[in-house]
């Protein structure tokens, strides 16, 4: 049975192992709870937390634009909160549009594996996605896609075209937004 297409999203706390080592389990737990609370509060309808994965979350969105908008919003919220706290919550996010198989409430398959590899390439505060995801979204005001090129990722035979998602403040065009005239996608 083939299941529906959707946006598969992995979040990951940058440096979580080091932070836990230096600052202890209580601080680690607080960071996890801060991440989960922010994510759950940001989820739109037709999306869900599939499962927790150590210091990250696996999310599912029925709509790729919802996924990207939510991810950018999450990063903006992290930036805002990080301005006010000693210990920053640095989250990196990877997104892939694909058709995984359902296993109970879980999702599995190549597309899930690929999304997990995309987040490995992201830095703190970044949202990366596959070019497939960017193409599924198309032109979207306020969202730009900057190509990073075909990238080899562990466990996937062929190189995968990856793009960096760039948001813009309200009323402005993002770098890489075709309407801004800088896209090379």
């Amino acid at each position: 049975m083939t299941d529906d297409y959707g946006a598969i999203v992995f979040t990951d706390i940058v440096g979580f192992t080091s932070l836990t080592d230096v600052h202890g389990d209580d601080v680690a737990l607080a960071l996890l709870e801060r991440q989960e609370k922010m994510v759950r509060a940001a989820l739109p309808p037709n999306s869900r937390v599939v499962k927790e994965l150590g210091d990250g979350l696996l999310l599912w969105f029925g709509d790729p634009s919802d996924a990207i908008d939510t991810c950018l919003q999450l990063q903006r919220e992290c930036d805002d909160v990080n301005e006010t706290v000693d210990l920053p919550l640095w989250v990196r996010i990877g997104v892939h549009w694909g058709c995984p198989r359902l296993r109970g409430d879980d999702i599995v398959g190549r597309d899930v594996n690929l999304a997990a590899r995309i987040v490995d390439l992201a830095g703190p505060g970044e949202v990366l996605c596959s070019e497939v995801t960017a193409n599924a979204i198309g032109d979207r005001p306020g969202v730009g896609f900057e190509p990073l090129g075909p990238v080899f990722v562990r466990g996937i035979t062929d190189p995968v075209p990856i793009v960096r998602v760039v948001g813009a403040p309200a009323g402005e065009r993002a770098p890489g937004d075709p309407a801004r005239g800088t896209s090379s996608r």
């Binding site: 920053p88 990073l148 090129g149």
Partner: protein
């Protein structure tokens, strides 16, 4: 003069050398070229070759995707993007840079625009950049002459030589942060470390902004 076609080099391993040479036409040794729909050129390593060598025109847009190995770019290139898991990356001169890797060594010579580096445990050195955006978990970050700089680091040492031409913002958890400013400049500094020492030898002013926050790392700002 027509703009040089963007090149995309992919190889799972081995060495990639890209040289921008004045007057050069695109030439490849150790790899094959294939035109892309977008007008660019894909370059793949020949199975028998250990090294791909590319000669191209100055200003060429270069993308390299690899898993491991060495990436060396020489001559004045356009935007350069490198994504790899490990290995040594050296980019001598580029209009813009985006490098992401897990480990290894990253050396950037001169970057006219944004120099974006995302690494986990790599040693990062940027000699000169108009704008540097660097994130590292545990590697050492050295930015020798930079204008705008934004650095996020968990535990590695961060050393920045500011040109005084932009804002320097560093957020660190436990690594030491050292910032040198040009003599006779007076930056506006916001320096905070929850449990580490904070020391500034520069006179305060409004020439440019330095903001450093750390949980337990030492912060030092001094004149060059």
């Amino acid at each position: 003069m027509p703009e040089a076609a963007a090149i995309h080099v992919t190889t799972r391993s081995g060495t990639v050398r890209v040289a921008a040479v004045e007057g050069a036409e695109l030439a490849v040794i150790g790899g094959t070229m294939q035109p892309r729909d977008d007008g660019g050129i894909d370059i793949h390593r020949d199975p028998a070759a250990n090294t791909i060598e590319v000669r191209c025109a100055p200003g060429t847009d270069v993308t390299v995707g690899t898993s491991s190995g060495k990436v060396e770019c020489s001559g004045p290139l356009g935007p350069v993007r490198v994504a790899t898991a490990s290995g040594k990356i050296r980019i001598a001169e580029a209009a813009r840079v985006d490098v992401r890797t897990t480990s290894g060594t990253i050396e950037i010579g001169t970057c006219a625009g944004e120099c974006r580096i995302m690494a986990k445990s790599a040693a990062v050195t940027v000699e000169r950049a108009a704008q540097a955006t660097v994130a590292s978990v545990s590697g050492v970050v050295r930015l020798q002459h930079v204008g705008d700089a934004e650095v996020k680091s968990i535990s590695g040492k961060v050393s920045i030589g500011s040109t005084g031409a932009g804002r320097v913002a560093v957020r660190s958890v436990s690594g030491k942060v050292e910032i040198r400013v040009p003599a006779a400049t007076r930056p506006a500094t916001t320096l905070h470390s929850t449990s580490g020492k904070v020391r500034s030898d520069v006179a305060p002013g409004t020439d440019f902004e330095i903001a450093v926050g750390s949980v337990s790392g030492t912060i030092q700002v001094s004149s060059a």
